[in-house]
């Protein structure tokens, strides 16, 4: 497998990143970078880290000329997952206030420790911290419950001061969304499976409204909606499909309208991407645009309720008129 880390790694360009992926020869991993400048989003990082963990350190390497900005890969912990020795020498400043390096989370206890110990490293306000904890809590739990991923959930996050934005990415090399949805919903394609996973009230564990005692099918819809309200990107990639929620136009005043049907949101998609055995979810949150969590939840909850009511209505029997 080959991964190229370019000089424009962000969620807007995520499709071009996955277009450049070569996932053939799944027993080795070669990571190359742009030779003059490398810009990496946590989404690119966790995908590379997940594949490195899958093939093993001895079969993963970073090759070719890595520019000075590539020291970020070292700071975020990517070198440690490969057999390549980092040649970067720099003063390791305190991590606080900037990023959460690549972490592997294998169980609920790891998840709680990560949320209590690592999220504060981003040094956000209390209300923004709660939003980030919410997002990480839901996304990691999804992996632990539904992905059956031997290597757990691989997580990284970065705060960008200039744009006052937090980027979060979570990846696993588990069964992928199609398999997770297959038993109860029979999606035909990976893209259909992703759309189902983003629809409020639909969970892979049951077709019953209200879900099971453990799952309701709300997690991904809530996270996508948080990204939409904060007018930023949300990406999900699994199997051969990828869905990117596009940024809501800033010139349109008021909060962006939420839809229960993910295909109504402004988005890009791919259905013939390099087939990735696992799932990657990433979200950018613009902190300037993010309301308090309770306000976010209230707006999202209204759409969630409406979606469930409408789906129920569709199941009503019609009277027979002759």
């Amino acid at each position: 497998m080959k991964i190229f880390l370019s000089n424009h790694g962000n969620l807007r360009n995520f499709r071009s990143f996955i277009k450049s992926l070569d996932l053939s020869n799944p027993s080795t991993l070669e990571i190359t970078t742009h030779d003059k400048w490398v810009t990496v989003h946590p989404a690119n990082l966790v995908l590379a880290a997940s594949l490195a963990l899958k093939v093993g350190r001895e079969n993963s390497k970073i090759v070719g000329k890595v520019p000075e900005t590539g020291r970020y890969l070292d700071r975020m912990g990517l070198y440690k997952l490969t057999s390549t020795h980092s040649e970067f020498n720099y003063h390791k400043k305190e991590e606080a206030g900037r990023f959460v390096p690549i972490k592997v989370i294998k169980d609920a206890k790891d998840q709680s420790l990560f949320i209590s110990d690592m999220v504060p490293l981003l040094h956000l306000s209390e209300s923004n911290t709660t939003v980030v904890k919410y997002i990480i809590g839901e996304l990691v739990r999804n992996v632990l419950e539904h992905a059956y991923a031997k290597n757990g959930a691989i997580v990284a996050a970065q705060y960008f001061k200039k744009t006052n934005r937090v980027s979060i990415a979570i990846c696993d090399t588990g069964i992928g969304i199609w398999k997770s949805m297959h038993e109860n919903w029979h999606p035909k394609t990976d893209l259909e499976a992703i759309n189902l996973a983003l629809t409020p009230g639909i969970t892979g564990t049951t077709r019953r409204e209200g879900g099971t005692s453990e799952n309701a099918g709300a997690g991904l819809f809530f996270i996508k909606s948080i990204a939409k309200i904060s007018r930023n990107y949300f990406v999900i990639y699994s199997g051969k499909a990828e869905y990117t929620l596009l940024k809501h136009n800033k010139r349109i005043k008021g909060y962006p309208r939420l839809y229960s049907d993910p295909t109504r949101d402004p988005h890009n998609f791919a259905k013939d991407a390099a087939s990735f055995e696992g799932t990657l979810v990433s979200v950018d949150i613009s902190l300037d645009e993010t309301p308090e969590l309770n306000d976010l939840l209230s707006r999202i909850g209204e759409v969630y309720d409406k979606a469930i009511r409408e789906r129920k209505k569709n199941k009503y029997k019609e009277p027979k008129f002759i």
């Binding site: 209590s116 709660t130 309720d305």
Partner: protein
């Protein structure tokens, strides 16, 4: 009779661990509700809760005990984040009742 559960000592300052939610549901909430007693979940010091956590905690008791759960399951010191999440779960669980008749 009332039983009070101090949530912070079990879940920390942010409620996201569904394993703990499940344990609380099975070992505390359901036995108390089935005895007809009241249970108070005290969220003092908890800043928020994921929808998944709250769902794992209370959806089954609501589905099984309906009015008994509405009357005897009480939330104390819940901030606006927690109130909103709990309210969302209450609404969609009630929407699901009709399906099960």
């Amino acid at each position: 009779m009332k039983k009070i559960i101090k949530m912070k000592s079990l879940i920390g300052d942010f409620a996201e661990n569904k394993d703990i939610a499940k344990k609380l549901r099975l070992k505390e909430i359901i036995p108390v509700l089935s005895s007809g007693a009241e249970i108070i979940l005290d969220f003092k010091g908890v800043s928020g809760a994921t929808q998944s956590f709250v769902h794992a905690l209370i959806s089954d008791p609501i589905r099984k005990y309906k009015d008994v759960a509405f009357n005897n399951l009480v939330y104390k010191n819940a901030n606006n984040n927690i109130r909103e999440t709990v309210s969302i779960v209450y609404r969609y669980m009630q929407e699901s009742f009709e399906d099960e008749r």
